[in-house]
């Protein structure tokens, strides 16, 4: 009884995850510039993958610990990679959506860390 219930709960988790992953892909396709795309990409893939892996952990017995460990790693590392992409693409001057307003980043003087290169 409990097994069947957990299995169906897992299926619900997996489908929620798949739905959000699809939305993330759609967001990357539809949104105008790299920063907006990163927004959709990061949020949707994080919840999507976490939800999918926890669902798999509920369906397959004995995998829940791995699933939770995977979810924790993803939650900690996924945003960091998106910061790195956003920061790097701003610094190399990727074109932003023309109606971006305000742009506080523009007003700041770039201080490159020790050993970094000035543009």
């Amino acid at each position: 009884m409990l097994d069947a219930f957990l299995g169906w709960l897992g299926v619900v988790f997996v489908f929620t995850g798949v739905f959000f992953l699809f939305l993330g892909a759609l967001g990357i396709f539809r949104l105008p510039d790299v920063f907006n795309r990163l927004q959709a990409g990061t949020k949707a893939t994080t919840l999507g993958v976490v939800s999918t892996s926890i669902g798999v952990g509920l369906i397959a017995k004995g995998w829940i610990l791995f699933a939770v460990a995977l979810a924790i790693f993803l939650l900690m590392t996924n945003p960091i990679s998106s910061h790195a992409i956003a920061r790097a693409s701003y610094r190399v001057g990727v074109k932003k959506y023309p109606q971006t307003d305000p742009d506080e980043c523009e007003k700041r003087e770039w201080k490159f860390p020790e050993g970094g290169e000035e543009k």
Binding site: L31, G62, E104
Partner: protein, 169 residues
């Protein structure tokens, strides 16, 4: 930047605990032989890497309570809201976006706390942290509500800053 370090012993012990716990999780069908090997490797691995793993050592274990019972519920709720927000924008045929990069000011001192704040901001509705400069964070906001630094701080970081202040005090 402020960087309060705990004693080497406490940091070493914390590394051992973390590695041993990870080993137990990753070798799941529990067996005592696995645990013995895990203990040996944890003791040795921690000796090599405890300096890189943490600065505050065993204090991190005390923080786990706040993390699980205060931070995590807020975080999960915010992340669900963020995804529904993205869904609403992406599925809307007109795509109601009004992006901008705003600046917010944080009172958090320790670098680790700032990392947590930046990660939390990235996974909450409509915001993506882009850069950091001392006490200022630059946030890409998909639907700008205010350009004022104070108000933006309240709007974006308000809910998490209190929790992280309690966690990393």
């Amino acid at each position: 930047m402020e960087r309060v370090e705990s004693s080497a012993g406490s940091r070493y012990l914390y590394a051992v605990v973390v590695y041993f716990f990870l080993w137990i999780v990753l070798t799941y069908p529990f067996s005592i032989h696995e645990w013995e090997a895990g203990a040996a490797i944890a003791l040795l691995g921690a000796l090599l890497t405890y300096k890189q793993l943490s600065v505050s050592g065993m204090k991190n274990i005390e923080r786990l309570g706040i993390l699980l019972f205060w931070y995590l519920p807020v975080f999960i709720w915010e992340m669900l809201k963020a995804n529904l927000h993205v869904a609403a924008i992406v599925l809307n045929p007109k795509m109601p976006i009004k992006p901008g990069i705003v600046k917010i000011k944080t009172n958090l001192k320790s670098p680790v706390a700032k990392v947590w704040l930046a990660n939390s901001i990235t996974l909450t509705p409509g915001t993506l942290s882009m850069d950091i400069d001392g006490q200022y964070l630059y946030i890409h906001w998909i639907k700008v509500k205010t350009k004022d630094v104070e108000k933006a701080t309240q709007e974006i970081a308000g809910s998490f800053e209190k929790i992280l202040e309690a966690m990393f005090k």
